[in-house]
Amino acid sequence: MSSNQFRKRIRTSLANAHLQKALDLNAERRVTRRINALETLPDWKERRQRAHAVRAEVIENLDSYLDQFTAKAQANGVIVHRAKDAAEAVKIVLKIAKDSPRRREGRQENQKETFAALGALRGEKVLVAKSKSMVTEEINLNHALEKENIRVVETDLGEFIVQLRGEKPSHIITPALHLRKQDVGEIFKEKLDVEYTEDIPALTNIARKVLREVFLTADVGITGANFAIAEEGAICLVTNEGNGRMVTTLPPIHIALIGMERIVRNLDDLALMLSLLPRSATGQKLSVYTQIVHSPLPNQQRHFIILDNGRSRLRNSPLKESLLCIRCGACMNACPIFREIGGHAYNSIYPGPIGSVISAGLFGSEFVPLAQASTLCGACKDACPVDIDLPKLLVRVRAGQSQVSSLKSSNPHGLTLFSSLTLRMYSRIARHPRLFALSQKFAALGAFLIAPFSQWIRLPAFTGWGYSKDLPRFANKSFRERFRKEDTPSHVTLSASEGSLLQQSETLRSPEALPQSDTSKIERFAKELTAVHGHVHHAENATQSIIQFLQSRNINHIHLEPNVLDEDALTKADIAFSREPDPAIRVGVTKAKCGVADTGSVLEADGEGKSLHASLLPEVHLVVLHTSQIYPSLEDAIHLVKNTKSAVFITGPSATGDIESAHTIGVHGPSDVHVFLVDD
């Protein structure tokens, strides 16, 4: 993209009033939420430095960590592939998809659903359900699959919306950031043949219904990965809606595409990253679903595709630090330029400050002009949870240091000819003090001739400066002409009280100590879970409390995990239970492996692979949690995921903020989560 094409896109964005409103809303909401969330972590600045060091060490020794990850994942039963570029990655996915066993029978059974657009989902085509993944956008996977007659459905609400509109995401976390609820209502009406509505919960519910069928009938599920844990051979996926869990759990094949820099060393480092990522991305202490996926579930095939696609080159370039990025999008929300132009103007799947660095590094010198669209104000660096020095990297891109852009390129700095010539001329003059002083005199004289009676000069708009502001007159006499070495005595008499002129060292304020909480872990857990719209019940007997809960709602059939409740008592109370998923069942009951007090989360792990269904498919999820199993923080609890096939920390009901950043509860996972606390 040339400088001029970029400028044209910028003007288009600025002229789009709806977009401007959406961007303002995003900036205001997201920045406040991020700051509030980080303030709940008193040592976040120190964590940020640790996170930087941890990421830097991984990138430094990436090859050995990748080997460790691969070996461990293979031992876990995962099929691991390496792809050096987009074409290779696409080829691998295609091969897996074409060899996949079909789930056509399931699809035919589900033909009762009446959404017109879904007609295309059924039939002979391979159906791929995708959860949001920037890496798949980077390699343009959907396009490649559709070309091979494979049907791909994006299942993240925001991605689903932009896919229906035939667009690309405009933000790496909130893909439909550029749209209003009215736009969503219109595209749903057009493509899904539903009544127009602009009620966000109603729109969300439409997506839930449409996509539920996709989950249940897809042949292949494709996801990205937020992190790949070297020591475990596992990946971590952070989502809110529940689609990520569906896609990794229900289809017989799961493929995860992993950018090769996503590595963390171990679960401790992962916990550190997870304390920063959701807070920075969405202002959540923990995302609703934090999955750690080790092995395939029974009757499932799992593939990890590790993608290079320019990352090795980036790693050997002066832009190496950009590989520390954990893709939270905070730099975009904080950037005053992104706020003006939005993601699409950048014409790269990675927009904003980090995008302006890595697009040039990964995709080539045509993206160098993006880096000129920054005031280098540093708001991005301050917002970055791993403290990437983005202004420094943006300047390096401008200086032609992204390795793929060579100085021989026609416009290596991404500057207009006018700026480039002006700066070069100025710089040559400023090398010589006398010439510099002489030029000042000429400039002052010139300014006087142009505007003899005004302190201001109105330059034409094409100069850039004259576009929106006037230029002050050069001073008639510069400082260097006015300065006389002053006649101050070489000694000065001071009174002792004025001795305060001596250096005064700044005493650093010690970071405020953690508030001494007088509430117990249990109360903390209850408070945090309630804050994320979950419910807490204190139960003397789990079975009796749950029976009461079910009877009060006239529910007599549940999806029950084994060894959770007294099943004889259930039968006596006329409550039927089954072990298998069934769309007719509205309530799932599971037992949590543990709770996390400071996020209000519960950990569900596979067992025989069933609890993952009971906690995901029904609308209401009831969890039994023993109070002795509540850990203070994620750092303390994360080791329990070891030796599980697939585990998930659940933090409240499934939710989305994909339409106008409005927090909406109940997408693909349960909309109602009740935890029954039982004392041991």
Binding site: R7, I10, R11, L14, I337, E340, I341, A371, Q372, A373, S374, T375, L376, G378, A379, K381, V395, R398, A399, G400, L415, T416, S419, T422, L423, R424, Y426, S427, A430, R431, P433, F436, Q440, G464, W465, S468, K469, D470, L471, P472, R473, F474, A475, S478, F479, R480, K485, E486, T488, S490, H491, V492, T493, L494, S495, S497, L501, L502, Q503, Q504
Partner: protein
């Protein structure tokens, strides 16, 4: 220059000491557009009993070509500046956080692969101070004895605030100006849209950011905006003039020197 003289241990609380001196790096914008700002800096130091040396060979620190990515153009300017100040001793003080940021941090970036110049850049960096930082942190001065009749609001320029982490210092100095009422500028930390060559490269974007800054200034109801940067000052003042607004923008040195 320092002269070696015995310091007399006087029985009273009064003693004599060699007059401390600083090197003034006035910056190209103050030199060419706002000489009165440079004079305000000199007068404040005089009042504090500190001598000011001004080396006439200084020109520009090289920030404009550096930030634009024209490092081949920036290097000779940085080398020139280093050479000029290597001939002097003492702290180098400048009425600009972005030039200080350039000389303290970006010179190290510019010469990161240059074993000949990197140590020289490092030696220079340790002597570089922004003006308000120097007053408050180095000299312990929080009150310059200034008087200002009216309302003031402060815009923390990005390179000063985030690059140099300087914010408390100018705000402390302003709070102690007698007669002045300091009001908050809404969204104070938002960039004004200057960004050096950026404002010429992307005038439409620069204009949008400037519009926000001016609208926030109007919300603050302060007639005067105080800055520590001549670049942002030129940009905002130019915008106010174009929009025929009555607010004025002054460099903090002029406020701190006012009597």
């Amino acid at each position: 220059m320092f002269t070696c003289v015995p310091v007399y241990a006087l029985p009273t609380s009064v003693y004599t000491q060699p007059m401390p001196r600083i090197q003034l790096f006035v910056t190209c914008l103050v030199d060419s557009f706002y000489p009165q700002t440079g004079e305000a800096v000199v007068s404040i130091f005089q009042r504090l009993g500190i001598g000011v040396d001004f080396v006439r060979d200084q020109t520009c620190c090289g920030q404009p070509p550096f930030s634009a990515g024209l490092h081949a153009e920036a290097r000779p300017l940085a080398q020139h500046t280093i050479e000029v100040f290597e001939k002097t001793t003492g702290d180098i003080v400048m009425p600009s956080g972005s030039c200080a940021h350039m000389m303290k941090h970006n010179y190290l970036e510019l010469f990161r692969d240059d074993p000949a110049w990197l140590p020289r850049a490092q030696a220079l960096a340790s002597r570089v101070f922004e003006f308000t930082e120097y007053l408050v942190d180095r000299l312990g001065v929080t009150d310059t004895g200034a008087k200002w009749d009216g309302v003031l609001t402060y815009h923390p320029s990005c390179h000063t605030l985030r690059g140099m982490k300087i914010d408390r210092q100018p705000r402390t100095l302003l709070a102690n100006v007698k007669g002045a009422t300091i009001v908050d500028l809404p969204a104070t930390e938002d960039c004004c849209g200057f960004g050096g060559i950026f404002s010429v490269e992307h005038p439409e974007l620069s204009a949008e950011l400037l519009k926000r800054k001016i609208s926030n200034l109007e919300t603050s109801e302060s007639p005067t905006l105080v800055l520590v940067e001549a670049g942002c000052l030129m940009h905002i003042a130019g915008g106010l003039h174009r929009q025929k607004k009555s607010q004025r923008v002054v460099h903090i040195a002029e406020v701190l020197a006012s009597q």
